[in-house]
Symmetry: C2
DNA sequence: TTTGACATCCAAAACGTTTCGGATTATACT
DNA sequence: AGTATAATCCGAAACGTTTTGGATGTCAAA
């Protein structure tokens, strides 16, 4: 069926070895034969068998991405953009991208990582949504398997990552609200196990404290990162005897859910209550009102994560394996000063 | 390094052949030796080398998904959900999923399909966002390469697909608006090259005609499927001397963009102007106001597409290779009767 | 004429698996 | 005793590539 080295060898009248080396451009095959080989290869439409090459070279030229998916109705704008980033970068270097989808912290997820670690499946992994005491990272470190994470974590091994400076981002929002005159600010926190959520929550609390503002515990509620979750828990904030004048959500999706519920209550977002999100997903510019948020260059993060991984796989440890991107505040109509008559 | 059949063979004291056949469960190896082999394999932590097996079996146990991505800031809630669907289904059957990202109709995309067709890369492909005169499908058909499409197209080859009945869906919305009393309905069409857009547009026009309503050309504008696009082109509808009382967008993303711009103009969506989308992405329940739309079981479509592909790869042509899913209308607050004083 | 250097080529092994076609031994049947 | 039958096993080839370690021949320098 497919054209192999043997076919070319027969046609040209040399050995398979010579064909292989000729095509690879080694200089121990005469220029003339090399040209002849190339010519016949083109004419026959030769394309090397990747599987065979992989078996021989003991590498797959493939990157793995194990996507943590929650439930069947899984939709996160983060992933398509990130995927496009790593996909394009990988393709540029001639790498394929193998994608698995598994529920976080599930047995199947663990098994997928185990499979990667024991070799031959992919050359390296991209890890996203780092978790507290991240078992995945512990495993990869322990086996010295090449990987790069999007996000830091608190395990005691040193590993390469690209991350946004969530603390800095949150500081920007909180300060923005405080500068506008807000004193009572509610926070919709991401689930505690996710590292990026922790950074955001901690930074929220510390920035408040740095401004001599206290944050009573009932001003912090926890959502599940979805619109639905945001909508549900913002209720608790709205029902407080002394309602906050501003609400910050740990991500845009929850902020959008909150927007929805707040407006259903008849409150005007931006006037009666300020709201901010985090991530600047494309949608956040088109909500009603448009959402104040922190911009994250997800596509670029994907590219850089992937590029770093490829460097590592090829034995070129990056000069700086810890990239921390400083985010920027995007002010839109969902934020405004507190109502004076409050 | 890794444990191979040879290691087990040496340990047990039989040939590599016997180990291979023993593990595979052939009955020409004694039960006793089989158990012994299995035991040693477990103890040594044997896992077959997939690359070697692939080379031998001449199949990759891998499915390909070539994602059409537009521009760097690419974010489409459709893809993460679809990906989760095919990913989970594929994993259930022991298949890996190889994902490439390429701009539609680009040389790199063509090259990716060419690579698939010439074999050895993946066992089958999943094609999405079918296009008019879809070159990809022509190629795959011509080479008899296993694939399943999400979406139909107008080429003259017969091929397996899963699709939503876009025409039926659009009929539901249009009829819904007409029943509410609307007569002048604007339409934000998807780009013309995409088949699903054509079905939706055609059904919009024909349903209008079936109700003896005319659709002057300036009531149909064309967007690029993004919020930004929806926001931009809805302006043209709003600027018309005789403004429509309802607007239907070809997908939810554009509807959301339209929502934004309409409200910026000071119009109340649902009262002053009715709006509907198409897809029922999770966000559409949380816009302000929530969006009337057509529900698409994307996750399920992903699963079914994948399942069908695996059947085909394994030489079991599905009884019904043309699945058409009937969508349902989801009425939310963005739709309402036309203003009486119009 | 020998020596060495160089240019060009290739056979064979290797990567780890599966499969083909027997080979060997024991068992049962004439 | 001889012969068929079944139960076990295995050597070798195959999948398509790359690499190792020469082999062969040519030419120039000593």
């Amino acid at each position: 069926m497919a054209v192999t080295l043997k076919d070319i060898a027969r046609e040209v009248g040399v050995s398979v070895t010579t064909v292989s080396r000729g095509l690879a451009g080694y200089d121990d095959v005469a220029a003339e034969t090399r040209e002849r080989i190339q010519e016949v290869a083109d004419q026959l439409g030769y394309h090397p068998n990747l599987t065979a090459r992989r078996l021989q070279k003991q590498r797959t030229d493939t990157l793995g991405f194990i996507m943590p998916t929650f439930g069947p109705r899984f939709s996160d704008p983060f992933f398509s953009e990130f995927l496009a980033g790593i996909g394009n970068e990988a393709a540029g270097y001639g790498y394929d991208l193998l994608v698995s989808t598994h529920a976080p912290d599930s047995d199947r997820e663990r098994e997928a990582y185990a499979r990667a670690v024991r070799g031959g499946w992919v050359d390296g992994l991209i890890v996203v949504r780092t978790r507290e005491n991240d078992e995945r990272i512990e495993t990869l470190c322990a086996h010295e398997f090449p990987f790069v994470a999007f996000g830091r974590t608190d395990c005691n091994c040193d590993f390469p990552y690209v991350d946004e400076d969530g603390a800095a981002g949150m500081r920007l929002i909180v300060q923005h609200f405080i500068d506008l005159g807000h004193r009572r600010i509610g926070f919709i926190a991401p689930p505690p196990g996710l590292m990026f959520g922790r950074y955001r929550l901690r930074s929220f609390l510390s920035t408040m404290a740095a401004n001599n503002l206290e944050t009573p515990p009932d001003l912090v509620v926890e959502g599940d990162m979805t619109q639905r979750g945001g909508a549900e828990v913002v209720e608790r904030l709205l029902n407080l005897a002394e309602r906050p004048t501003a609400v910050i959500a740990g991500n845009d999706l929850m902020a959008i859910g909150a927007l929805n519920r707040i407006q259903q209550r008849g409150l005007r977002v931006g006037q009666d209550l300020a709201v901010a999100g985090f991530d600047d997903i494309p949608l956040s510019a088109y909500t009603t009102p448009p959402l104040t948020t922190i911009h994250q260059p997800i596509y670029d993060i994907g590219r850089r994560t992937c590029a770093m991984l490829i460097e590592i796989i090829n034995g070129r440890p990056p000069a700086n394996p810890h990239i921390l991107l400083t985010p920027e505040l995007v002010v839109r109509e969902s934020s405004g000063p507190p109502r004076t008559t409050n």
